[in-house]
Structures are given as C-alpha cells and as structure tokens.
C-alpha cells in the first residue's frame, strides 16, 4: 500500500473553503445627488388634500405716485398674487427576501438591503427633481461653442448670457441665504448661482475661458463632493444622471440641459406624517409558510418651479471634433 509523500501544500491539499467573505460589503455605486440641495424645502400638512399651494404677492407698480397738491388721491392699486400649486405623489420600492438567504448567506444581507432602500429614496428624489428642472424651465441654446451644432458646446459667453438673464430678472444669488454656507461653502465665489450639469460635459467645462476647477479653489473647506468648477458667478455641480435629451440637437445629437438658478426658484414639499418611511413586513405576513419577509421604502414628494424669473439654463451639446 502506497501513500502520497512530500509536503502538504495548496497544490495537493487545497483549502476546504476556497473563498472567504470580507467583513464588510463593498460600496454600492451611487450617482451624485445634485438636484435637491439648492431648492427650498416645505412641508405639507396631512388631511388637507394632496395639492400644496405656494403664493407670492408681486411687486407694486412704481409708476406715478406723486401728489400734485390738488387733494385728489392717486388710484389705489390692487395687489396681485400668483399661486403655484404642486401635487403630492407617493413612490415606493420593496424587497422580498427568502429565509434561506438570511440563513445561509452573509448575516448582513438584511441590513444591507435596508440601506439599499435608503439609497433608493435619495436617488429617486434626486431624479424627480431633475425631471422637474428638465421639463418645466425655459432653456437657451448655447451659441458660443465650436462644434457647429445647435445648440453648440458650452462657452463663457453662454454662461454670461444666463447670468444677465438672471440679474435682469432680479434673481438673488444663493449667498443671500444664511444657509448657503452649509449648502456648498462660499469659496471661491461668494455671490454664486447654481449650475447643474452632466458629467459628460466635464471636458467642455474645463475648456471654458476663465473656469476655475474645484482643486484650485482657495479654500476646500465645506465643499460638496459633487462640485466640479466655478465659471463666472456660477458654481457648477455635476452628475452622471443629469438631464439629457437624445437626438434633440440640430444634427440629431444628445442635448444636455443645464439648470441655472438662484434663491427660491424651485421647491420640494414633503408630506407630514408620511415622508421617508422604511419598514419591514414579517415572514408570517408575507408568506403563508413564513418563508419570505419583506422590506419596503416609501416617500411622498411634491415639486414645483416657484419663480421662473429666477431660474434659466442652457441647452448644450458636447464638443466633438470633426
């Protein structure tokens, strides 16, 4: 009777379990959330219907007003109120988990699923706000780029044009608000408007005259990771999920829309007694033999452009040398 001889090594005696799981999961990819932090947050009371009204009194006319001493009163003016309505909508996502997943796999799976649902809520909210900007705001085509499409690629003149539009409409920069510091710091531009752009445009952004990339800001304190650069009075934030319209340019290329806005131009409204709920359903509820349990996330949101004067934006294509 013979027996194997020599050194027992991994060639002749492989480990019984060839893999081991790391203690923690790797990061779940998440895109930059850029569409919510610059808008105003309001809350809707429960039991009062699903439509929230935001009202604004418009300025009184500055025409006339001088008294001529005759004793005749000037004509009284009726104040004008504009009402902006937003409809509350509910979104939800669920995960059903079989007990064998819990029994035989990583014990952190269940808690990871919970955090996935939390991430889903943040991402979904961001996309809903993106859709609001993309659908309900007037955009101007870029004309200063060099790619011969319409809209063209981005240029400094296009940014300046939107700044003029916002200033002509008396838009206020974000630093008018005390919480702007908390939202995106104040370096390098104190009086800044917000610009949201696709990550597909970063090459074009780098080539704009006068651009200051984030790494060149004099102070890095408090900056949001989503920020990419500063152009004129715009702080530019980028996301891979920013709005775009396929086949919408003069030449049939993808058009990217860049919302550019100041204070109080858009709002999101959360529903009191409902917003952002994460819960679980025990197995004896989900399954008749108690084998499946459930996790769910729900949130309610209404969204609105609250002042069209204070929001504008650019349509752009990306520079593609021909």
């Amino acid at each position: 009777m013979s027996f194997p001889s020599g050194i027992a090594n991994i060639n002749n005696l492989a480990p019984e379990v060839p893999v081991q799981a790391l203690e923690d999961f790797l990061s779940t990819p998440m895109f930059n959330l850029i569409h919510s932090f610059g808008v105003d947050l309001y809350h809707a009371e429960a039991y009062l219907g699903k439509t929230t009204r935001m009202s604004r009194f418009e300025r009184l006319s500055t025409d006339g007003g001088q008294l001529d001493g005759s004793g005749i009163d000037p004509a009284p003016e009726v104040p004008v109120r504009s009402d902006i309505d937003a409809k509350m909508e509910i979104y939800a996502k669920s995960i059903v988990v079989n007990e064998q997943v819990i029994l035989w796999e990583n014990p952190k799976t269940y808690s990871k699923f919970t955090s996935l649902l939390g991430q889903w809520m943040r991402e979904k909210e961001d996309l809903l706000m993106r859709d609001l900007f993309a659908s309900s705001v007037s955009y101007i085509n870029c004309t200063g780029g060099l790619n011969a499409d319409s809209p063209t690629s981005l240029s400094r003149n296009d940014f300046n044009n939107i700044e003029t539009i916002l200033l002509n409409n008396d838009a206020r920069t974000m630093l008018e608000s005390i919480d702007a510091m908390d939202k995106f710091s104040t370096s390098p531009t104190r009086d800044a408007f917000i610009c949201l752009a696709s990550t597909a445009l970063t090459l074009d952004l780098q080539n704009i005259q006068g651009v200051q990339l984030k790494n060149a800001y004099p102070s890095q304190e408090g900056l949001r990771p989503e920020e990419y650069c500063s152009i004129s009075r715009f702080r530019v934030f980028v996301s891979s999920k920013a709005a775009k319209k396929p086949g919408a340019s003069m030449l049939g290329r993808t058009v990217y829309t860049l919302p550019m806005y100041g204070l109080e131009s858009a709002a999101k409204i959360e529903q009191n007694q409902y917003t952002a709920v994460i819960g679980s359903r025990p197995s004896w509820v989900v399954s008749s033999v108690a084998q499946n349990s459930g996790l769910y996330a729900r949130f309610a949101i209404a969204r609105a452009i609250t002042n069209q004067n204070w929001i504008s934006g650019l349509n752009a294509t990306t520079f593609q040398p021909t």
Partner: protein, 343 residues
C-alpha cells in the same frame, strides 16, 4: 403563486398606438384581437401578441398571425421578415421612441407649413425635427402633426410663410406628448402685436394649459420681440384648433416677433419658449364663475406615468386597426425574472 394577472382591460382600436400604464411592472403581457379572431382576411391579421420581460428588444414580441384567407395560425416575432411594430415597454420618461430616424424630403415655407415624408405616423403625434436643411432655425423643435397621410402632414404650429426658403431635407423622431413633469415649457412660433397678444406654439397648448394659468416668456433677441422676454402673462383663452393662447400682455408697441434666418444658426440664440409660472384666480360674484384653479392642469405633477406598455397600431400589430376590439392582460411572476438560470 406562479403568476398573477396584475391588471387587464379592453379597448377599441382607433388605429393609433395605445399606452397602458403598468404601475406594478409586468413580466408578461398579452393582447388578443377579438374582432379579427372572428374574421378571415385576404391578408392574415395578427390576432394574439405576447411579450416577455427581458427577452425582447423594444418594438418586438411574439405575434400569432392568421394565414392569408384562412384561420390557420403562423407564429413568429414582430421583428422577423415582413416586420411589423410590436410592444415597447417603457420604464422612464421623457420617451423618445426607439425607431430609425425618418427622412423628410421637404417642408414648405407656407402658413401652415406642410411636410413631405413617407411615414406611418398618426394624427396628433409629436415629432422632433432635426437636420432641417434650409430651415435650421427650427431644427431640434418638436411639432404636433395633423392632416396626416402616408406621404406627409401639416404643422399647424409653424407659420413659415416668412421664412426665406423651404427645407429640402431633414429627419424626424417621434417623442412623447408628455414630459416627465407637467405643465411643461412649450416652443413659441409666433406672437402677435395686439392688446391681448396671441401666442402660437409648436404643439397644441390645450393639452397642458388652461385659462387662468400664468406663463413666463423666454424670448432671445434673435426672435425680435425682446420686450416680452422675462414677462409673465395670464392666459385668457386657449385655442386648440390653432395651437394658440391669448394672454393679458399688450404687445402693440413691441418689436415684431420673427424667426431668425436659417443661415444664422448655430450662432444665434434659440429658442423662444414659455414656461409655467402658476396661476391667478379670478372670481365673478355675479356669475359665480371662478377661473384659475384647475387642479387637473395647474399643479406641477408627473406628466408621463411610467412604467407603461406601448402597443403599436396596425393590422399586424398588437393594438390592431380601427374598430378592432382588443383585450389585454398584464401578468407578473413572483419567483424571479425569466432570464434566470432555472431548469
């Protein structure tokens, strides 16, 4: 629970594609043409259409088609030879239809403009026009089409008599009538100089706006009437025939509105648009009529509900021909996706 019928219904075809919302999503979808099941046609018709999630490309599926002059059944895919339009499952908005870009051969410089194009579009479809050689000032704009025939259609929203030349080339791609959020911004094609200006858009504004709503104007200098840029007006009336709204802004002293020349593109700013800016209520205590609060149109809300299943229309397609009665069902499997590696 292997599969559950989530929702089901029936409709009578009008000869145009049908969108069926499937809020719970669907793993399987079936449509049966009840009318054509009872007929024998010289050219056999599709009587049953099936779709499985994660199996088919857009505009595809399985078609059960009667043989010519008999009720015998042939089964193949919508995408096989003698292809016809099938199912498209849409999960996000806005929607650009997955189809080849169709070529235009001419757009007249007339009011309204008339497009020459061999196509299968339907009345009131919305198309994005691009590569419009000779009319580059409208390239990229969406237009609603009417008076549709197999060889062309009319653009009520485009008064092109003032254009220097007709378009001699171009392409179209069909898009959804609704954006992800409504009310949406619209493209302006004409503004009159009047005490109450009349504003024409490239699509029918009655689909999105009603009397009493406010609209904010964005009109670049290249369109002439710069005085209206940045103003907000109230809609006094909506005309769905001419795609116009009448507003409470006096434009009599304003510069005339005009499209820039085609040759000025792309260096001239485009486009002229208006966007929703809320509403102003008005109440008449004598007639008890209140305007300005229309909770169907006014609030910002989801425009295009997704997911939905699009059933293409036609004799060889799921939504059938005009008059056909279609019964449909959406089903969902609880136990995983169909492409899972199950024996």
């Amino acid at each position: 629970m292997a599969a559950t019928i989530l929702t089901q219904g029936t409709f009578t075809s009008t000869g145009v594609g049908v969108k069926i919302p499937v809020p719970q999503s669907a793993d399987y979808f079936i449509a049966r043409n009840i009318t054509q099941l009872a007929t024998t046609q010289a050219t056999g018709r599709v009587v049953t259409s099936e779709w499985y999630k994660d199996i088919f490309n857009p505009n595809d599926g399985i078609r059960w088609k009667k043989t010519n002059n008999t009720s015998a059944i042939n089964i193949d895919l919508f995408s096989t030879s003698t292809a016809s339009d099938g199912f498209t499952y849409v999960t996000s908005s806005p929607v650009t239809e997955a189809q080849a870009a169709n070529a235009i051969t001419a757009i007249t410089a007339a009011s309204p403009a008339v497009v020459t194009q061999t196509q299968t579009y339907s009345e009131n479809d919305i198309l994005r026009l691009y590569n419009t050689t000779g009319m580059l000032q409208i390239a990229g704009m969406p237009f609603e089409i009417s008076s549709v025939s197999g060889t062309g259609y009319t653009l009520i929203g485009l008064r092109a008599a003032g254009f220097a030349a007709p378009a001699t080339n171009g392409n179209t791609r069909r898009i959804s009538a609704y954006e992800a959020v409504d009310p949406q911004f619209l493209y302006i094609t004409e503004i009159t100089q009047a005490l109450n200006a009349v504003v024409r858009t490239s699509v029918n504004p009655a689909r999105y706006y009603v009397e009493g709503m406010l609209i904010h104007f964005s009109v670049p200098q290249s369109f002439g009437m710069t005085e209206i840029n940045g103003l907000t007006g109230k809609i006094l009336s909506v005309d769905s025939t001419n795609y116009t709204v009448t507003i409470d802004i006096d434009t009599t002293g304003f510069t005339a509105f005009a499209f820039p020349a085609s040759s000025a593109v792309p260096t001239t700013p485009l486009f002229a648009t208006y966007a929703p800016a809320g509403a102003r209520t008005q109440f008449n205590p004598i007639t008890n009529v209140q305007t300005g609060y229309d909770f169907t149109f006014q609030p910002f809300r989801t425009g295009e509900f997704t997911p939905f299943m699009f059933l293409a229309a036609g004799a060889q397609s799921p939504a059938g021909s005009t008059g056909d009665v279609i019964v449909w069902q959406a089903l969902k499997s609880e136990t995983g996706i169909i492409s899972a590696n199950n024996p």
